[in-house]
């Protein structure tokens, strides 16, 4: 009885590792999708309504619809830091928030998102729009790559996790 229980635990545990690895890939894709959505909202808010950064970010966050998504948490963090430190520190706030709140992204992806730090809230609307477009295009490329990675490796991770558990159980028995 105890052996069976132990075997189930080992299989469940190793399967969980596979499931988590798969979930991480899913979250990565979802985050990139959200960031692309944020870029689209920022683009339209700034170009057509000349919205201030604060309200453009708020609208971008509310358009995501999920208060607990990594992207919403990131935007909320940026806004609260702006309140605390002042709008003049926006660039530093954006950079540190990317590092602290978007840790699921690769360093290349982070560097791309960080490019907005020096541009958002600047003088020119056209410069901001063109920078946002560049970032959005880059994120699109990263998202396609992440989707392929998810399709290729997601099931493999899950299967491997379960197989690893089974293997360990067989060896132990």
């Amino acid at each position: 009885m105890i052996k069976t229980f132990g075997a189930i635990c080992i299989i469940l545990g190793s399967s969980m590792i596979g499931i988590l690895a798969n979930k991480r890939l899913k979250n990565h894709v979802a985050l990139l999708q959200d960031l692309i959505g944020v870029c689209q909202t920022l683009e339209s808010e700034i170009s057509s309504k000349l919205s201030p950064i604060r309200s453009a970010l708020l609208n971008a966050a509310s358009s995501l619809g999920n208060e607990e998504s990594i992207c919403t948490v990131f935007i909320t963090h940026v806004l609260s830091e702006m309140n605390e430190k002042g709008p003049q520190h926006f660039s530093e706030i954006w950079l540190s928030s990317v590092d602290n709140k978007l840790d699921i992204l690769s360093s290349r992806e982070k560097n791309l998102v960080k490019e907005l730090a020096m541009v958002l809230g600047g003088y020119g609307v056209e410069e901001q729009i063109s920078a946002i477009k560049t970032v959005r295009d880059g994120l699109n490329r990263f998202m396609h790559a992440a989707e392929q990675e998810k399709m290729r490796s997601g099931r493999v991770y899950m299967t491997l996790g379960m197989a690893l558990g089974l293997g360990v159980v067989i060896i132990l028995i």
Binding site: I46, L50, S51, P52, I53, R54, M82, G86, P87, Q88, F90, G121, G122, Y123, G124, V125, Q128
Partner: protein, 313 residues
């Protein structure tokens, strides 16, 4: 100024100082109260010391702080809540209106596209003008004119920096609270200090403001859309401004405006003077004697004849 005015002036000073970057803010807030009471603007010039312009002198807060380009950029960021692009149109004209009606004038390199200034970059200096709101300074003038069935066309005249806009703002409030519909063509957003649709000053309950577009254009738009009883323009500077005011007068609207002038001779040298003398019935002349402002209301015709007799300064 009485105690209440001094208190309000200090509050206004603090509100303007809060727009400064942290290190300048500390210096500005640390000065003596007498400086705060008489302060008119903060001056920031790259490579020079931070200074406070008072009515009769310039004060450098201690310890002396040398201005850098980061200070000017931070000032703009704070004034626009981190969104300089929202002030793009006014920046083209060299200023930004911040919370509380405080106005920041900027200098730097103008970028010209298609023959027009499209923006100002590489800022070299800025002046943060402390908004002043002194209520009831126009009460006596208002009471003298309010009884008339048709509010007379009134021109406020003084040299720069003496308080034309402050008086104009108070008259707008009094006329508006008195029940007349007032429309303000506020090109530089100085009169209303509007931020996000909310006026930074008390401009009365029946006041409509159109800010950001040229004064003649604003006057015509206001005439068409808001059916005002009194139309207000701060600083008549061109024949086009006068033309727009003339149109308003022809529609049966009362006029309230200001103009820079040291004397009637000075005013009469302006290209638009002929229209001024035809359109306006009354003139308020502001002068400063021993640091105190005095307001003298007269008929324009009296002023002209006094001037001809050599009675004008």
């Amino acid at each position: 100024m009485d105690v209440v005015d001094l208190y309000k002036q200090r509050e206004r000073y603090h509100s303007a100082a809060n727009l400064l970057p942290q290190r300048l803010r500390s210096a500005a807030l640390g000065v003596e109260d007498r400086i705060k009471y008489s302060a008119e603007e903060f001056r920031l010039r790259i490579g020079r010391r931070f200074s406070i312009n008072c009515s009769k002198f310039e004060h450098e807060p201690s310890p002396p702080t040398t201005i850098t380009s980061d200070d000017l950029n931070a000032l703009l960021k704070i004034a626009t809540d981190g969104s300089v692009h929202t002030a793009g149109e006014s920046l083209k004209r060299g200023y930004v209106t911040a919370k509380g009606g405080n106005r920041i004038g900027v200098c730097g390199s103008a970028v010209v596209k298609n023959g027009e200034v499209s923006s100002i970059i590489n800022l070299s200096s800025a002046s943060l003008r402390i908004a002043r709101e002194i209520k009831d300074i126009g009460k006596e003038i208002y009471e003298e004119l309010a009884g008339e069935p048709f509010f007379p066309n009134l021109l406020i005249v003084s040299p720069p920096g003496v308080g034309k806009t402050t008086l104009l703002r108070d008259l707008v409030r009094l006329i508006s609270d008195g029940g007349r519909r007032v429309a303000v063509a506020d090109e530089r957003n100085e009169l209303s200090g509007m931020v996000g649709g909310i006026p930074g000053f008390d401009i009365g309950r029946c006041t409509d403001v159109l800010e950001g577009c040229s004064k003649p254009e604003a006057v015509l738009m206001l005439l068409r859309s808001m059916s005002p009883q009194v139309i207000v323009m701060d600083e008549i500077t061109s024949p086009e401004d006068m033309e727009a005011m003339e149109r308003a007068a022809n529609c049966g609207v009362s006029l309230l405006a200001t103009a820079h002038a040291y004397s009637i001779e000075d005013l009469s040298q302006r290209v638009y003077y002929r229209s001024v003398s035809r359109l306006f019935d009354r003139v308020v002349r502001i002068s400063t004697v021993n640091g105190r402002r005095s307001y003298e209301l007269s008929k324009l015709s009296d002023w002209k004849s006094a001037s001809r007799c050599g009675g004008d300064d």
